[in-house]
Symmetry: C2
């Protein structure tokens, strides 16, 4: 078997940078663990002259990453640009077609083009590894593909976005507003300074859910519209009221099998303060798997940052160096099923509702009437008056209500003149 492996790194942002240094320092260790020598033969980045912790060797640098495969014999490519399409897709595609193994932390790319790229990898008998795309340093994909390989998995859920979890934790701690905490998170590097939207609106977590789904249930990646809600509309008020009710608000990504149909979603949830998931705070990520015969398995770790991501990228590298050639999604493309999607309108959840209303007679009765009309029954109701403004907050915890009725009920609320602000709806987990 091959003894020397040539490596190319495309993208030298925070992750590419860290990885480059890790590869340099761990070269000896890698040789001890695998018997293989690695050699970085090409790197590519937008800006050659940006200040970096290391000096770029001129002859290894490529302005255009696609040139790499024409000039160098590359065995393994690290893609660390991070787009869902464009150059990220192009370079991975080209690599696989050239029988080059690919390792990437790019969840946007894998959740969108994973099936196509996995097929390319399988056809060309090389690996496409993406452990770092979900859960940072938590080896969750490897655990599903290998550690729990013969289990029948029924549900996977967890806290998949460190940025959102950090913001929610800080809002609870400091009682500061969403926008102030976001600014702080950006300063600390926990949220993208330019465009944090994809973290905050649930897109990033949903990409991870889709990857987890495909691996857990042996199906192709679903491209259906899923329930996706972010944390942008969570107010300090909701966090405080939840707290009093012994809940905490968490952005959860969930995928489960219901009657052989897949139900994937990302939305904020009220979780019990005493539950395990209710105590995963800060930038931590956590994934919980339910399977047979293993029971419940929990994995927790730092979900973001160059260190944990790099740890996952290196585990992919060692897997390839050890000759562990395998299907990117655990089984051959021919065996992967077309996903059957559960009709989300049918799903039932208890709800947390907060309505800001005019404080006058008859308002409460009109609200309870709307709920009754949509077959939603009340489990608990709290009215908090604001005498100065002559308004009140009405907080309702409902019994199970299905998504369709909840949606219709929200529409009715919106057209009710006594309700003076957009109603808040958060599902209970």
């Amino acid at each position: 078997m091959k003894k020397n492996f040539n490596i190319a790194i495309v993208g030298l942002g925070q992750i590419g940078n860290y990885l480059y240094n890790e590869l340099k320092t761990k070269k000896k260790d890698i040789q001890i663990k695998t018997g293989k020598k690695i050699n970085i033969v090409a790197i590519s980045a937008k800006n050659k002259n940006k200040k970096r912790k290391f000096k770029i060797i001129k002859k290894n640098f490529y302005k255009n990453p696609l040139e790499i495969f024409k000039k160098e014999k590359v065995d393994i490519l690290f893609e660390a640009i991070g787009h869902s399409d464009g150059i990220s897709k192009k370079i991975v595609e080209t690599a696989l077609k050239n029988k080059v193994h690919v390792i990437t932390p790019n969840k946007a790319l894998i959740s969108k083009h994973g099936d196509y790229l996995a097929n390319l990898a399988e056809k060309n008998k090389v690996n496409l590894e993406f452990e770092a795309s979900v859960g940072g340093g938590i080896p969750i994909l490897r655990t599903i593909k290998e550690g729990l390989a013969t289990n029948s998995i029924s549900k996977v859920y967890g806290i998949l976005n460190g940025t959102c979890n950090y913001i929610l934790t800080q809002m609870e701690k400091t009682k500061d507003s969403f926008s102030n905490v976001l600014k702080k998170a950006q300063l600390l590097g926990y949220a993208e300074p330019a465009n944090p939207k994809l973290d905050l609106n649930g897109y990033d977590a949903l990409a991870k859910v889709k990857i987890l789904s495909a691996l857990s249930f042996n199906n192709k990646i679903s491209n259906k519209n899923c329930l996706m809600e972010g944390i942008e509309n969570i107010e300090t008020k909701d966090i405080e009221i939840s707290n009093q009710l012994n809940f905490r608000i968490k952005l959860l990504g969930i995928t489960e099998m219901i009657n052989d149909q897949i139900y994937e979603r990302v939305h904020p949830c009220l979780v019990n303060k005493d539950s395990y998931i209710g105590n995963v705070n800060g930038v931590m990520n956590a994934v919980i798997l339910e399977g047979r015969p293993v029971g419940e398995t929990v994995l927790q770790g730092e979900g973001a940052g160059a260190g944990p991501t790099s740890s996952a990228l290196m585990s992919d590298l060692l897997s390839i160096l050890r000759g562990n050639i395998k299907y990117p999604f655990g089984i051959s493309k021919n065996r992967r099923l077309n996903p059957k999607i559960y009709d989300k309108n049918k799903y039932s959840n208890p709800l947390y509702l907060r309505l800001e209303v005019k404080d006058k007679p008859g308002v409460l009765s009109s609200i309870t009437k709307i709920l009754a009309n949509h077959k939603i029954s009340i489990q608990r109701l709290i009215q908090i008056p604001d005498n100065k403004r002559k308004t009140a907050s009405i907080v309702i915890i409902t019994h199970n209500a299905n998504e369709l009725n909840s949606k219709k009920c929200l529409t009715s609320f919106k057209s009710n003149k006594n309700i003076i602000k957009n109603p808040v709806l958060i599902r209970l987990f």
Copy 2:
């Protein structure tokens, strides 16, 4: 590459039984995931006629498991007898020498003879897999060997024995005595009915610590005497008092690197009730790893029982079928270091001490004097009088005290006539 694999199972207790059925039902699934066919060609058990969920095929049954290799072409052996020596060692040894892959959940065997057997496996170019030996269904060994392969691990600790954790949880919940709760655990199958000693005295957890150590720090298994204390002497009283102080008692297995020396130990600990580890209850196991660059990684799952164990055994099987041939301890035998052992007498811990004393003047001052003589300073002291018996419980939380001084101090306490029962010492984590 080989397409058909012949399998032998030796030992048909709870685990062997479950495994047999899993192999039968998952045969198709295994073929889909690996492209390989498995075939059970031999089984062996003490008693052929014991009532089982399946019928033993006569021609596959061997009274003497060593006969199997003379009569059958076996590729993979499952050893599920569970002794540290004797027939367990003999059969694994014979298999490896015959170039047969071995899979075992036997922590007693691996922690005692793991180095020797791993060398045999390496020499004969076959796998020796023992994922199921630590943490039941939690894929912790695979995570260290593969998922976190290039991390520099500094500490691994956790709740490694489900029996002890169940007993401590139940003692807290029911306020019932150790011996009563043990009886209940035995009835429920959570503790060995005949000889639960190896679970209760910490031996089982220490075997797991030794395996975790060897994998995490790339050293040979240490055979030095370690600090090993069980839960047999924990009283309901200590659980209640701990509770009032916001602690919970857990049996922890810990291994860490201190100045390039390994410090392995198993003993009950007072852990904070709000900490993660303080909330892992019942039969659950949990392992926490600290490494660079990954940070802190947590894995939690059901630690015992045939289902979780079988899940781990099957993951080992798939690893072999996928052709993932590797060193049993992650690196070649020549690279594994001789462990340097940290002098446990130097280690410092705050302590929880409970002394049952005669309630008369001067007693407290004599106790505090003994502590002072051994350089142990008091952080907190509570005296609980028992007026009826004219005795008192003195509970002391100390500042950091090193093991040597603590030991000497205990000896002094024991010879003090005012202390009427054996003093209780539990370390704080």
